[in-house]
Amino acid sequence: MTEHEPTAQSNGTSPAEQAWLARTRAQLEQATPGFDADGNWQRLSARIQAESFRQGTPRRRASWHWGGWTAWLAYGLGVATTAAVLLVITPLREEGTGPQTVSPLGEASTPSAPAGRVLQVVFRDEVSLGEVRALLASLDAEVIGGPGRLGVWHVVVPREREQAARQTLRQHPWVESVSP
């Protein structure tokens, strides 16, 4: 930037024109619709997370295919190790405390399910993101994933409004399909 470089609009204009431009600027700013910075940031943030999730899944799948036989070997070793550990530990536990109820390991790490029903929705191509957002907001629906390559959005709706939300979406002209 050169020193004292004038802005484009102030370049060679008379004071009267400057005043007119300032007034015009104020009028244009006054007529610009408000911007929902927080709402748009939430939408952008959700999209970034959905995108990173979408990109992460194929990467894991690719490494699985790449390492075909090594993956099976690792799986086999894992199973063998688990079996060996169980063979050693289970008798010890039975000796020490008597019969116990064993809960599956999977239960501890199962992620909590979304607090509503997940629907897969495809919107028509000409529908804007703003319109999608407005429609979903009217149904208290929240985007939890997508759109993927096939344009499928994963949205969660409150359980008590599931039927109504599904029906509204199916009948809405912006919506191409809803499942389940």
């Binding site: 004292h4 802005t7 484009a8 244009l28 007529a31 911007f35 910075a37 952008l44 993101l129 703003g130």
Partner: protein
């Protein structure tokens, strides 16, 4: 005073660059900071191009998503702000092309049919109409002139930054701004009855 302004602009440009580098490292908080600094101005610019609030929202969202994805590829040939506005411009133009052109004709009808049914004092009504005239005349400007004048007038950008955003030489930008100002003045003067319309002068395009 001008030195101070320039120093402040330079500091802000450096901060933008730091934030963009952090975005390239995957720091989403940096993107949010960048968004908080520029999203509102980007939205006003997008709205001025596509004249549709939801489309402007979408253009801003798309633009910042693009910033996030391509931050590592920023080559620093311009400021981050200029680069960002260039992306916003493309997204807004995409939205404009997608939008049904029928809505654009409505803007021209507003200029012809002056809204006069509000029971407000005359001076307030005239002022309100004048804002509408200015906005409608602004929207009638050819799109490249509209962009250039918005960036010059509202964002107070320099010719070379606008040239970088529009991808044209500075002289072209200067000409666009000159014609845009003249057409806007004429259009408002005709709309407010201060000047008679000439044949074929209905639209400043």
């Amino acid at each position: 005073m001008e030195r101070e302004l320039e120093e402040r602009e330079r500091r802000q440009a450096d901060q933008d660059l730091d934030l963009l580098r952090a975005c390239a490292r995957g720091e989403q908080a940096a993107l949010e900071a960048l968004y908080r600094r520029h999203a509102s101005a980007a939205h006003a610019f997008a709205f001025r191009i596509c004249n549709h609030a939801a489309d402007a929202d979408e253009a801003v969202c798309e633009a910042f998503f693009e910033v996030w994805r391509t931050a590592a590829r920023f080559d620093a040939r311009s400021s981050v702000r200029t680069w960002l506005f260039g992306i916003v411009r493309h997204k807004a133009l995409d939205a404009l092309r997608r939008r049904n052109p029928r809505e654009e004709t409505l803007v021209e009808e507003v200029v012809v049919d002056c809204p006069d049914d509000a029971p407000t004092p005359l001076d307030r009504l005239m002022e309100r109409q004048r804002v509408e005239f200015v906005v409608d005349c602004f929207q009638r400007l050819p799109e490249p002139q509209r962009e250039a004048l918005h960036l010059a007038l509202v964002e107070e950008m320099r010719l070379r930054d606008i040239a970088a955003i529009q991808g044209v030489p500075e002289n072209t930008v200067a000409t666009r701004i000159h014609h845009a100002k003249r057409k806007l003045m004429d259009c408002v003067a005709v709309a407010t009855g201060m000047k008679k319309a000439r044949p074929g002068d209905d639209s400043p395009t």
